[in-house]
């Protein structure tokens, strides 16, 4: 990714340098050639429509090229590839908390394998933060109350800066950490090294039972709530006729504020979980719901066997 961004950057630097050079050169030439001298008066020129049109249209053309180029890169930056490894990020004043899907937790350090797509699903516990890794040319604000995502694909191993780029209070400049990019084998070793309390999806499943979600959201018979098997990533028809895609933000909202977007055919009877689950627990629940939509070959799929839904998002 850094390469594509840098290519546009270099293009713009060269464009700017040549534009500046041209303008400054012309001004300098005029300033010297037409400096005030005795016996020479200024020639009055009112303007030139052709020139005006030329120097209005020409920049517009150049700008159009930059716009398309920039938009193209932005599309790429905003569209995480399918099958990316996922990491949950919870930002708070003033630290980064990271959860791998396998259950490993880190603070202010993110270990990732080289040559893999890594997608961050991020939220904040308090104010707005911004996840910024200059080496990967990625930045995304992290908002309280919703998920935002970003992704990268590290091409070399090493340790890179992780900054908070949105001013967040006293220790904003202390909210820094690092992204450690490792060889896959080292990464596997690292994953296995620290003790975990089970994968996120497994934790989520436990909570799903403890919080009683399972009594209504059943996968065998029709419960009072929708069957969650296979719904993730699919469009959902709502009670009010709208359709939304069941993405991370929808699952999140449906847990915290269930009456906001009720699935068609169901009553808004689910209790509100706002304030009852922490951001980390919420991540586990979301991850569990996601796991219900993964094909049996999926790495974290635990309960998908019963679903019998059509396969989707096959991992490579």
């Amino acid at each position: 990714m850094a390469g594509t961004v840098d290519a546009l950057y270099v293009f713009l630097v060269l464009l700017s340098l040549s534009t500046c050079a041209a303008i400054f050169l012309v001004i300098t030439v005029f300033a010297v050639k037409y400096r005030r001298r005795h016996g020479r008066e200024a020639e009055q020129i009112h303007g030139s429509t052709i020139l005006e049109i030329a120097w209005s249209v020409l920049p517009m053309g150049v700008f159009a090229v930059i716009f398309v180029w920039g938009a193209f890169i932005f599309f790429m930056e905003r569209t995480p590839p399918r099958g990316a490894d996922e990491v949950y990020v919870v930002a708070k004043q003033w630290m980064w908390k990271l959860q791998h899907t396998g259950g490993q937790r880190e603070i202010n350090e993110l270990h990732v394998p080289v040559d893999r797509d890594v997608k961050m699903i991020m939220t904040s516990q308090d104010v707005i933060h911004s996840f910024y890794v200059p080496a990967f040319r990625i930045k995304q604000d992290v908002l309280p109350g919703r998920y935002t995502t970003a992704w990268f694909h590290a091409t070399k191993t090493g340790t890179f800066h992780l900054f908070c780029a949105e001013y967040c209070g006293t220790s904003h400049s202390g909210m820094i950490g690092s992204v450690v990019v490792m060889e896959p084998s080292q990464y596997e070793a690292w994953l296995g090294g620290g003790g975990t309390t089970g994968s996120l999806a497994a934790n989520g499943q436990t909570m799903f039972q403890q919080l009683g979600c399972i009594t209504c959201h059943r996968s065998d018979v029709q419960g009072r709530g929708p069957n969650l098997t296979g719904i993730f990533g699919k469009p959902v028809l709502l009670e009010d006729g709208r359709t939304v895609v069941a993405d991370e933000n929808y699952v999140r909202e449906s847990i915290l504020n269930p009456t906001a977007k009720v699935v068609s055919g169901f009553k808004p009877v689910m209790p509100v979980f706002q304030g009852l689950v922490t951001e980390e627990q919420l991540n586990s629940l979301v991850e569990y719901v996601k796991s219900l939509s993964q094909t049996p070959s999926g790495a974290t799929g635990t309960a998908a066997l019963t679903s019998g839904t059509q396969p989707q998002n096959p991992k490579e």
Binding site: F30, R35, R36, W69, K139, P144
Partner: protein, 544 residues
Amino acid sequence: MATVAVSTERENYLNADYGVRSWLLTTDHKRIALLYLLSITVFFFVGGFFALLIRLELLTPAGDLVLADTYNKLFTMHGQIMVFFFLIPSIPATLGNFLVPMMIGAKDLAFPKINLLSWYLYILGGALMLHCVLTGGVDTGWTFYTPLSTAFSRTGVIEAGLAIFINGFSSILTGLNFVVTIHRMRAPGMTFSRLPLFIWSTYATSIIFLLGTPVIAITLLLVVFERLFHLGIFDPTRGGDPLLFQHLFWFYSHPAVYIMILPAMGVVSEIVPCFSRKRIFGYSAVAMASIGIAVIGFFVWAHHMFVAGISLYAALIFSLLSYLVAVPSAIKVFNWTATMYKGSISFSTPMLYAFGFIGLFTIGGLTGLFLAALGLDVHVTDTYFVIAHFHYIMVGGAVMGYLGGMHFWWPKISGRMYPESWGRLAALIVFIGFNLTFFPQFILGYMGMPRRYWQYPAEFQVLNVMSTAGSTILAVGYVLPMVYFLWSLRYGKIAGDNPWAASGLEWKTPSPPPTFNFDETPVVTWEAYDYENIPLPEEVSLER
């Protein structure tokens, strides 16, 4: 200012009356302009002092000069004071107030008492701001982003918000006065197509004052209410949306950048023809570019929010519109350059500032193209790249224009000439100091140094040291004009009515002008910038 000694025998606005009352209760737009000049200068040096402290802190990677909280307050108050209490009123409230009636041949602004009221509102807002500064300050960043400002900050957000709210009404009333004056008070023969370009740009600025400022006023009021009464409109834990705040904030605060730069463009459009002895190249293109910037400027606000969590399609539209707003700015630069072609160019101080403006504004504008490019903005937004970019526009552009204008019209304002060689020296120092301060920040930004950092990784130090060094030079460049302007009040050469042999009605009346500007209402029969009809006196022509 009340003790200015004016040796001309004629009665003018300065010696028409003496005493504090005659200044504090004046309705003369020229005296109000001087009141503004005095007060914004105070705020400029307060804000500048904070800037120096910021730069000193950043001399070393560790946070060692001030505490983190102090540093956060410093950059917050630097921004708030410089933006709301210096840059926004700078040219409109001083030069604009002084020149708008004179340039169109009016005796005063349409509503002189409202004009005085707007100064008092400014002072009231300013006093509240200073009180806030002295009693602990505020640490939210000048952008007041929620929920940090509404639910987390424990500093004087309410007071600072109210200060800016009150100050906003000062801007609104000034803008209203200008628009009405330009529409209704023009002298006979002064048609819209004969208006000086400074008037066109002031007009465009006033439109932004009128339509943008109320939005920031209500937004900050909602922030204040939210803190006072716990409303929850911007609080995500209670169903509010913090992005709504950002939209409302930038709806004003992006056009506010044009409030700062448009008047400076107007100043440059006056200076370049005068010191090239030529008509402006493409009068109507430059005039329409001002209006175009003001109008399109209202539809680009979300380009501050590309990584804030807005939708992909919103980002695309705002990126496209941002490129559109760059076109009229480019047109202006080309037209100023073309104006010099086959001119008779002299290098007096105002012209040096105009050169500086064009150069720095070009760099600032071109780096804006980087930021409007979506894919690249993701990397450089919220870093020092942005800091450098907007300082090139707001300091390199707006302040250069302001200083250029002050030098150009100082003889008219005071009736005295400033020392020319000191003027040129100061212009040079400002230019060098400015570039040394802010150019390294582009590189810092691309290397990834985020803005608003009290401490930073050591690899960024060299460039930060350069920047700090530059800021001290810049400070000297800013103090110098103040010193010699004051000096010139007593010792400066008597200026005469039209020392630059400039076009424009303001030069057809004595310096300093009489209280009602013109002894009799002028009748305009000529086009703007008719330099072919203005002979150059010998002493002006010899001066390079």
